[in-house]
Amino acid sequence: MAEAFALRKEQTGRLFELLAEDRLMIGPVSQRGAVVLGPVARANDLVDCIGSAATPIKRFFHPPMQRVFMAYGENGRFALENPLEPQKQAIFGVHPCDLHALRYLDRALVHDFRDPFYEEARRKTFIVAANCTEVAENCHCVSYGTGPEASDGFDMALTDLGDRYLVEVGSEAGLDVAERMALPAAAEEDRETKRERLSAAAARMRPCFDAAGVAELLAGNYRHLAWREEAARCLGCGNCAMACPTCYCYNVIDKIAIPPDRVERMRFWDVCLLQEFAEVHGANFRPEREARFQQFVCHKLVYSLDQYGMFGCVGCGRCMTWCPADIDYRETVNRIREGQ
């Protein structure tokens, strides 16, 4: 069992300050009516985040727009320079589903080849997880066993117990912080209250989706009409993939200064739902929206299992929360399952 401590809520500021000594601080904050994960100046600016923040966690490890290298020179002669390395950061309020998203990205971006920017950011990040005692409408982590409790992948995990948090530590760095704060050990009844609150949260999640056997089901139904009918509602805007914490695809462009003595090669998030995603000269391998919608869903639920040994969906619900056409991939799967 992980070592556990008690943290009174009024001490949260102290924890924040301690971590902020040499780190950029990130956490759930309110922005134009939505809760996002973003830079935080003071602990008082942190807000409770019920369900998933609009910001996917990937942004702090695999940024939406990132310099790959800089080139200085002219007339075709350039010297290349690596960009700055990621800096130390701490992220508050990371929900269990997002921790699983990071586990997924650990496999997608570090394999035979290693993304050094991602690896470095992972190494330099202190994670304060927040177990989910409250759930939002689209939360369905129970379908994938990715929540509402964080089992690992954090430095500290907090569970809201009313006037205090139960703090579990998951790393040396987390233990070090707990000791520096001289946090008292948690009472056994606090552990019990945590269990009760998390089972209550799990029970409140809409029990509408069973992930068992879904890969085999979809792999046998690539030509099912449900794909076409659901895709007909899709606007092809790509919000789902932007908001998805496991979508890692990127595109690359060269940004040229004027005069052209400096070039930055930039990579930025790309989305398989966009028309040109699979286009080459003279061919588009997914010309129809149906094929692109299917790619988005099947990458998560079928191909990922082969590629990374885990689902690419963590049940955070962002793709449906931020879909302007109210598409819920679970309905597509359920239609196929029920033979409609």
């Binding site: 290298f69 035979d112 080849f113 690539y222 990127y250 790309d270 061919a283 391998f285």
Partner: protein, 277 residues
């Protein structure tokens, strides 16, 4: 921090005009270790220019020659048109080699049938030249090659040398001879050459590269003739932005064309081929 997306500069030593829109660029990496650059036939490099971008381009040269390597490129996009404007001595940026190439080791002792369409002959040439360098280690070699018009045929100045190799046959066809009064060869798509092949189809390794539709019809012609799908190898083209299985563009089902391919045994991808997935 080692950055796998940072390319190395290479000097273009020679440019060979193949057709009106296609050139072969022979290049050599600059800096230390450039002489050790080696690759397998069927692999590719990300080739680019700073300020323009990168494109995945297969190696078309004989891998036995170390240090110097070639890319045969058709000028159709931003990067390839920028390459087209280069002169010998010009500089390009290269990362690679990437991916899985042709099963050149497994093919030893076997008869080989090569089927190429258009620019698809480029990665096949790399295998053909390596086989010719080690001619005694392979059985008969037969090359079926098709292009749109006589003016689109690549490597025509090498055809004679290829045909003169021991136990080697080359059949060439064009979709349309057009105005070309001198064309005495076959007219029709490359799949029409399959029945004319002298190689026993059930007993050979078949290497195929060309536009996806051409490969689809080629495989569609081979399977009913009793060819084992294990013996057919195809090289796929996909959009690629990284070459290192991260940018996501080249995925076909669970496969990354850049890492698991671009050369696949047909039996590995038969459920995915031409499915739009």
């Amino acid at each position: 921090m080692e950055n796998p997306l940072q390319p190395r500069s290479a000097i273009v030593e020679n440019i060979e005009r193949e057709t009106y829109d296609t050139r072969t660029y022979a290049m050599r990496l600059e800096g230390s270790g450039g002489e050790d650059y080696s690759y397998l036939p069927g692999q590719f490099n990300m080739v680019g220019l700073v300020g323009i971008g990168e494109a995945p381009i297969s190696l078309s040269s004989c891998p036995v020659e170390k240090g110097c390597f070639s890319h045969t490129v058709r000028a159709v996009g931003d990067v390839t048109n920028a390459l087209d404007r280069l002169q010998p001595g010009g500089r390009v940026w290269v990362r690679g080699p990437y991916g899985r190439g042709w099963p050149i080791e497994e093919a030893k002792g076997r008869r080989i049938l090569v089927i190429g369409g258009g620019i698809g002959l480029a990665p096949l040439r790399s295998a053909i030249l390596q086989i010719f360098r080690q001619r005694d280690e392979y059985g008969s070699v037969e090359i079926l090659y098709g292009a749109r018009t006589p003016g689109d045929l690549l490597y025509t100045d090498e055809f004679e040398t290829w045909s003169e190799q021991r136990d080697t046959r080359l059949l060439v066809t064009v979709d349309s001879a057009g105005e070309d009064q001198n064309w005495k060869g076959y007219v029709g798509v490359v799949t029409h050459l399959i029945p004319r092949a002298a190689t026993p189809l059930r007993d050979c390794m078949i290497l195929v590269c060309g536009p996806e539709v051409m490969m689809k019809f080629t495989v569609g012609g081979l399977l009913p003739a009793g060819v084992n799908p294990e013996n057919i190898w195809v090289s796929l083209e996909r959009r690629m932005k990284c070459g290192i299985a991260m940018c996501g563009h080249c995925q076909i089902g669970p496969k990354y064309v850049c890492k698991d391919g671009p050369v696949f045994r047909y039996s590995e991808i038969r459920g995915l081929f031409g499915m739009g997935i």
